[in-house]
Symmetry: C2
């Protein structure tokens, strides 16, 4: 993005403003239950009892991976990111299509390895890969994945729906994803389906841009805020290690709040269900950590209870157009 | 593509070989009626009476348009190409998603203008734009569009199905698209729907890579060949002009067979319907040319009847993975 664009002048609006303007102008119709602005679009495609979920996601060499990243992992991540968004609505992915932009001098083995990563993850979640296209993008590899899934109409969980008093929950661990997790994560599809079936969260999102920003989307939709407990945050070991090894690294709390690429679920649920959820979830998914990290409050803003008092946290993660 | 890849060695297989290998390995499931290899994938998504059509298509600055191309036209073309593939199955497009890879120094107005082009075409065909994403692709603009459409189960027209004796038909005009048509075309959605309702072609494809290559796909599926009449080919005026103006330009016949980007329909239909089709189509679509250009024959290969005799035409257009 150019400096001029970042300034957000009338001629070159900032990304956030641009996205807002684009969204209001998007062509729509009666079949669209939820359009751009949630983890996936929710569509009435005339499937009895189901909504369809439509999602597209793009990755670029030098931004989301490097030329040295193993191509199987590039494929895994590309599909996994879109599946994580399907999980965030408690949906099941069904069909995927891939567009590969191949740099000059690409190697057929690399393309096959990317597809190996895609196919392996697709098989695990019974996703059919129904189309692909290759184009030339001379300078770098780009990969765009679109996924169509489905969800029971009465079990679709949106970003909107959190209420003051609800507990705030996350699966897995947060921060320090760049050390490796961002290429190896498992989209939380099974956990999300189970949660929707047994507890039906009031709101849910996947953590791709960092807890502070992504939880912020849930809170914006609810016109509410949240109070989190620092001691309850499941900070990934790598985030603590990085902070210990370098003064230039983010402190672990900041890493957990802003690093992004966790690909975990963040959801809200009435506090009355907290003990039952903890108990049953741990039995159903003994290998997936789950943590209640705080609660939704009426007053907007994100507050963190630390040893030395409660502090407001202002920073937001990246803004994407979806 | 690197020279090494073009050579098609075992280590760096040529594109065609690579595609074939990738296709056989794609993860699939019972819902996939037709997977990668037709204009769109055909999916049983449990919609009563309908199949869904899934399509993805990518465009890259410097390949499909230039930095000087009006951004509205870039948007129009990006969506239009995918809609043309939906038309080729006699389907109706319903939902679209866009991934934009934005170059350094992009301008918000440019992005809005691209979306204006997309939204205008979407509105004309009642397509809802249900998601978008922007990523950074520093050197050049890339745009990937995915579209989901639907088609009556008994009116879906595939690439497979042509029979020796069928007439070969095309809508519109062929060749010289680069003079402007490739940015301004109208996907033949209405014509294709009408054809499927009134005549049900035995096979159909959209002309994106040139008549010789695309008709070749229909013939490959039928294990058959075709004889075309040079005098019956609706050669675009611009193709004739270019040939007249420069000795370096393709002769008009070659342009019509290989230029690509016509975005017209090519279909086959039993010859017994020829007169009725001509008559009724011209009444229904007085502004869309339609031409019977030859017939399917049992012997594989593409032959052209010219003034001085019948010649075999060997060249194929580009090979894409879809």
């Amino acid at each position: 993005m150019s400096d001029e664009t970042k300034k957000g002048t009338a001629k070159s609006p900032g990304e956030f403003e641009l996205i807002t303007r684009l969204k209001t102008k998007l062509q729509t119709n009666d079949s669209v239950i939820v359009g751009a602005g949630d983890d996936c679009a929710v569509i009435d495609a005339s499937v009895p009892g189901k909504w369809q979920l439509h999602k597209t996601d793009g990755m670029v060499e030098g931004v989301h991976f490097t030329r040295e990243t193993a191509p199987e992992k590039v494929g895994h991540k590309a599909l996994g990111r879109a599946l994580s968004d399907i999980a965030a609505m408690a949906g099941s992915p069904r069909w995927a299509m891939i567009t590969l932009g191949l740099p000059d001098g690409f190697d057929g083995e690399m393309v096959e390895a990317i597809y190996d990563g895609i196919n392996r993850l697709a098989k695990r979640h019974e996703v059919a890969v129904v189309g692909g296209e290759t184009v030339s993008n001379p300078e770098r590899l780009v990969i765009s994945v679109s996924v169509v899934g489905e969800v029971d109409r009465d079990r679709c969980v949106l970003r909107a729906g959190a209420k003051p008093g609800d507990g705030v929950w996350v699966t897995g661990e947060l921060g320090g994803s760049i050390a490796g997790h961002h290429l190896d994560f498992t989209p939380r599809l099974n956990e999300a389906l189970w949660l929707a079936e047994h507890f039906l969260p009031s709101a849910m999102i996947d953590l791709s841009d960092g807890l502070a920003g992504d939880l912020g989307h849930l809170l914006d939709q609810a016109n509410a805020g949240a109070e989190l407990l620092e001691t309850a945050l499941p900070i990934r070991r790598e985030a603590r290690l990085r902070a210990r090894e370098s003064d230039a690294a983010k402190p672990p709390l900041l890493a957990a709040l802003t690093d992004g690429e966790d690909y975990e679920l963040c959801f809200t649920l009435g506090q009355g269900y907290a003990v039952a959820l903890l108990d049953q979830f741990r039995k159903a998914f003994p290998e997936t950590p789950i943590s209640c990290i705080g609660k939704v409050v009426a007053e907007p803003g994100l507050k963190i209870q630390q040893k030395d008092g409660t502090k407001e946290f202002a920073t937001r993660g990246f803004v994407h157009f979806q």
